[in-house]
């Protein structure tokens, strides 16, 4: 969808040029035009979703659909900056719409209140990119498979307390360009002796280099057999945070897969209001998951429980910033994408990019 001729012809108005000036100076006019022709679906309007929405709207995509079937609760008012006070009981996407639109009137922002599970396959194929936040694992895998039919770019992301991750699948052949400085040419001679200087090659002149990157599906990214010798050897070098999604054991101080399992089992994420009960359940899931893989439960110390409740606003900002920029890069086909996971540990301040695939 991104290669249609239509996008090339998109005209940038003077108004857009003025507003987007500082980003056009960074990623160029072509990239801005491609953004200007892209439609994105964003699922989930909690803290992380709001950050991604803001980043994409400010970047200047053509259209953004906010999809969320949940209602605004008293707690969400504190969690998210698009929802105005007094919106309790309204649909989250609907409540976010006005302030989202104000961010940039030139973007067509829509709200969709249906559950994502109920959407037919064709629904997803009308977009250039789909971003899933707060979704159960199996749903993410299914949507990822649907989108691969038409090379719709897929992004996933979540934040659990101090921790967060993003995943991307840009398809088996994602084309992009990188800007490189032109090599300084050796001077063409004149006759004036060995020290002749020529007008210098302008050091600010650059050239665009075409590249391709390949991505695996979400299913492939998750189905790593950690019991194999090769996988075990790589475990030590694997960022602890990878295991946000894996239902496999993890040598990590917290258990992302545990968190996703909680989400699947309980239909919601751990909540501060039921901290005591949820903590107990989390520890139990941890025990079960690790035991099933033949690993000791102290691989994930009890402490992990304190740091994965709710979405921390600054962590949403960091993950939402990286995720937002990855979507921008993919749509504009400019600059090397992060492949294929990004993990953020808000306690340590470390953010790691790593590639996981069965092959």
């Amino acid at each position: 969808m991104l290669d249609t001729v239509e996008k090339e012809d998109t005209v940038i108005s003077e108004e857009e040029a003025a507003q987007y000036d500082r980003q056009i100076r960074l990623w160029g006019l072509d990239a801005q035009k491609r953004l200007r022709g892209s439609h994105v679906l964003l699922v989930g309007l909690r803290g992380l979703g709001a950050e991604v929405a803001k980043n994409l709207i400010l970047a200047g995509v053509k259209g953004l659909t906010l999809l969320d079937h949940e209602e605004v609760t008293e707690e969400s008012c504190r969690a998210q900056f698009l929802i105005p006070v007094g919106s309790e009981g309204q649909n989250r996407a609907q409540a976010s719409l006005e302030r989202a639109q104000y961010l940039n009137p030139m973007v067509d922002v829509k709200a969709d209140t249906e559950p994502v599970e109920s959407k037919p396959d064709e629904f997803f194929l009308q977009f250039d990119a789909v971003c899933l936040t707060g979704c159960p694992r199996d749903l993410m895998i299914r949507i990822d498979q649907i989108c691969s039919q038409k090379n719709v770019k897929v992004f996933c992301g979540d934040v659990f307390g101090y921790h967060g991750y993003m995943f991307s699948n840009l398809g088996p052949e994602h084309h992009y360009v990188e800007e490189k400085l032109k090599a300084v040419k050796p001077s063409e001679g004149t006759s004036d002796g060995p020290d002749t200087k020529k007008p210098k090659v302008d050091p600010s002149e650059t050239t665009m280099v075409k590249k391709t990157a390949s991505f695996c599906s979400l299913k492939e990214a998750l189905e790593i057999d950690w019991t194999s010798e090769k996988a075990k050897a790589s475990l030590k070098r694997t960022p602890a945070d990878y295991f946000l999604l894996q239902v496999a054991p993890l040598p990590s101080p917290f258990a992302p897969s545990v968190l996703l399992k909680f989400r699947t089992d309980k239909g919601r994420d751990p909540q501060p209001s039921s901290f005591a009960d949820d903590s107990t359940i989390l520890r139990q899931i941890r025990d079960d998951v690790l035991e099933a893989q033949g690993l000791a439960s102290d691989l994930i110390p009890d402490e992990f429980v304190s740091y994965c409740f709710s979405e921390m606003a600054p962590v949403c900002a960091v993950v939402g910033g990286v995720l937002g920029q990855e979507i921008v890069k993919a749509l504009s086909q400019r600059d090397a994408p992060h492949r294929n996971f990004f993990f953020f540990d808000g306690l340590k301040g470390s953010g790691v990019v790593d590639y996981f695939a069965t092959k």
């Binding site: 000036d21 980003q23 302030r99 940039n104 004036d192 606003a313 900002a317 937002g324 600059d335 470390s350």
Partner: protein, 645 residues
């Protein structure tokens, strides 16, 4: 039993909701930061910004909308935040943080200060205020895709000024006036020209051929003779550029011919300059008029590109020159007798003028001409900026703030945001904080510094403005000579020592080895300045701080020679020569089982920044074996004119 309030443990949550914090700046980082703070539960926030909203801010400063253009950033930011968090207690100041109202007592009201600034002068100032008040400061900066956050705490960490920062890039006068070789030289020249014709004339911003150029003569004695002669030679310096222009009635054609024909022909007579360089080619207005009409500027947006990104032909720029001179002439006339214009990149005729003049000069000197878009980047020191980088950095700022409030200062880190992951796969790289530099001329217990200058030539005014204020970051210095009599050289009280300004230092008995005690009472800062008399400083160099990296040190091997990146620092050549930091070779073994990088002082990574185009390679591999430089140097100041050194 641990209790949570949201994601935070109760004690921390209570601390967060009760403390007072100060945010300095309500722009790119500031907007994101305010949002993160209130969502995290901070209730008592004060925010200060002297700026008003511009349309180019709207791609990232998301608390502002188009209808707010022209209004106070701090004020509108506050109002926007209250929309989604009405219980937040926000005080907004539309003011400069350097206003003496914001004294040490003011700063002491806060648990913590967070900078969201875009210029070094303010950063230096807030650094000193926080040292004086002894409160933690979280410093940060972004440029393009890159960003950085760090924590400053007196006695525990380096302060912002512990490491000398590279000063703004400058070019020698003769390069600007005689032998430009890059577009930037022509752009600087054009800005000087604007000031000479329409603005405040500055002796350091000459545009006419420099007859005292040492390269121009075969014989040093002859150079000296020429330098002397030029003062008597009526053609060259007797009449100021502005007076001459006025005498022609600001006739654009006459001005054009003087600058691009007569002056160029004069340069051609300085034949030694052109032995190894391509000689410039004069332009005559009448001849230009005969040229073909390539790309005359039109008012319509071209089908594919931005109008501003078109590159016109010589005739087009000549026309643009003529039109802008006429417009500026009218502007000047409207303002009345003795009026001056101030260059502003967002003032269309001012930008047109610089675009035209710079391009005509580029053409004269055989350089490829540049679009208005590109000229604006360079002339206006524009740093490209996007929302996401600021969002990430502002998130990291709050995470550091939480550590500080928890009393976990030893967990604080400097965190770098790269464009691409480093060899250890890190996109966000936390590094341990460095301890204070015991010789820091700001935070050491008795700061002291040594300055080389010519006591017979340096004026008191220069000491105050260029050395104490610009170089040493003071806002309102008081200077006493340590001569046993406590002679007051400069008083910060308005008018008290004005009579001293135009005298040179030696008139006060200052000579080699003299010491000055300099105080800035607002910053609670005392600096002892040792003076060394020196008669052979480089041309155009007025003073030198001993122990500083020279501005034009030889570049490190992986930086192209004479890198003329104009952005505000971050060049290998400016790494302190006295640095004791050991670069890590690629083969060095790092501590592999720790997630963290060693202290940033043992990692050097050059971040080459500047304008639109940057040297990307070094940045992308930031990490062990590659070079990293602090980002805080960028930007220094959005509208700074690049000065002669």
């Amino acid at each position: 039993m641990v209790q949570l309030v949201g994601s935070l443990r109760k004690e921390l949550a209570d601390s967060v909701s009760s403390c007072r914090v100060l945010v300095v700046g309500a722009g790119g980082i500031g907007c994101e930061l305010l949002k993160n703070l209130v969502l995290t539960g901070f209730k008592n926030i004060e925010v200060i910004d002297l700026d008003t909203i511009d349309v180019s801010n709207l791609n990232r400063q998301f608390l502002f909308q188009k209808k707010h253009v022209g209004k106070s950033k701090a004020q509108v930011a506050k109002e926007s935040v209250l929309q989604f968090c009405p219980e937040a207690n926000i005080t907004a100041y539309h003011d400069s943080i350097m206003n003496p109202d914001y004294n040490v007592e003011f700063f002491k009201n806060f648990m913590l200060v967070m900078n969201a600034l875009d210029n070094r002068a303010a950063r230096n100032h807030v650094n000193r205020m926080c040292l004086a008040a002894n409160i933690p400061l979280i410093e940060s900066g972004t440029a393009g895709y890159l960003g950085q956050v760090t924590v400053i705490k007196k006695g525990l960490t380096e302060c912002y000024e512990c490491q000398p920062k590279p000063t703004q890039k400058t070019f020698p006068g003769c390069t600007i006036r005689n032998t430009p070789s890059e577009p930037i030289h022509c752009i600087v020249w054009a800005k000087y020209l604007y000031n000479q014709l329409f603005g405040e004339e500055d002796a350091d911003q000459e545009v006419s051929p420099d007859t005292a150029d040492p390269e121009a003569s075969w014989d040093p004695a002859q150079t000296a003779a020429r330098a002397g002669a030029s003062n008597q030679d009526g053609d060259i310096k007797r009449v100021s550029t502005k007076d001459w222009a006025r005498s022609t009635g600001y006739d654009p054609v006459k001005i054009f011919n003087k600058l691009f024909k007569d002056d160029i022909m004069y340069l051609l007579t300085m034949d030694k300059l052109w032995k190894k360089r391509k000689a410039p080619q004069p332009l005559d207005w009448a001849v230009v008029q005969e040229m073909a009409d390539a790309f005359l500027q039109s008012d319509e947006v071209s089908g594919q590109g931005l109008r501003d990104q078109q590159v016109l032909g010589v005739k087009g720029y000549a026309q643009l020159f003529c039109n802008s001179v006429e417009t500026l002439r009218s502007q000047l006339a409207e303002k009345g007798e003795g009026a001056q214009l101030v260059w502003d990149k967002d003032d269309p005729p001012a930008m047109d003028f610089v675009t035209a003049a710079a391009n005509l000069r580029m053409h004269v000197f055989s350089m490829n001409m540049k679009s208005r878009f590109d000229v604006k980047s360079m002339a206006g020191n524009i740093i490209p900026a996007i929302a996401t980088t600021n969002a990430v950095i502002a998130g990291l700022i709050v995470l550091e703030a939480l550590k500080i409030l928890s009393g976990d200062l030893e967990q604080c880190r400097t965190v770098f945001l790269n464009k691409q992951p480093n060899p250890r796969k890190k996109l966000l790289v936390p590094c341990a904080l460095d301890p204070p530099n015991t010789n820091c001329y700001v935070c050491a217990s008795k700061p002291e510094v040594t300055v080389k200058l010519n006591v017979h030539k340096t004026l008191v005014q220069s000491l105050q403005d260029k050395i104490l204020k610009e170089k040493f970051g003071m806002v309102a210095p008081d200077v006493q000579i340590e001569d046993g009599k406590g002679t007051i050289l400069i008083s910060s009280e308005e008018g008290e020592t004005d009579a001293n300004n135009s005298k040179c230092l030696s008139e006060f008995g200052i000579r080699n080895g003299s010491r000055l005690q300099v105080d800035d009472f607002l910053q609670d800062y005392t600096l002892l300045v040792n003076l060394l008399h020196c008669e052979d400083l480089e041309k155009d160099v007025e003073f030198e701080v001993v122990g500083d990296a020279p501005d034009k040190a030889p570049p490190a091997p992986n930086v192209p020679e004479e890198d003329k990146n104009i952005a505000n620092g971050n060049q290998d050549s400016a790494l302190p020569s006295t640095s004791s930091k050991v670069p890590i070779e690629k083969d060095d073994v790092l501590i592999v089982d720790s997630d963290e990088e060693p202290s940033s002082s043992t990692m050097e990574a050059a971040v080459e920044m500047g304008g639109v185009k940057r040297k990307l390679e070094d940045v992308e591999t930031g990490g062990a074996g590659s070079k990293r430089k602090r980002l805080f140097e960028l930007p220094i100041n959005d509208d700074d004119i690049i000065a002669l050194d």
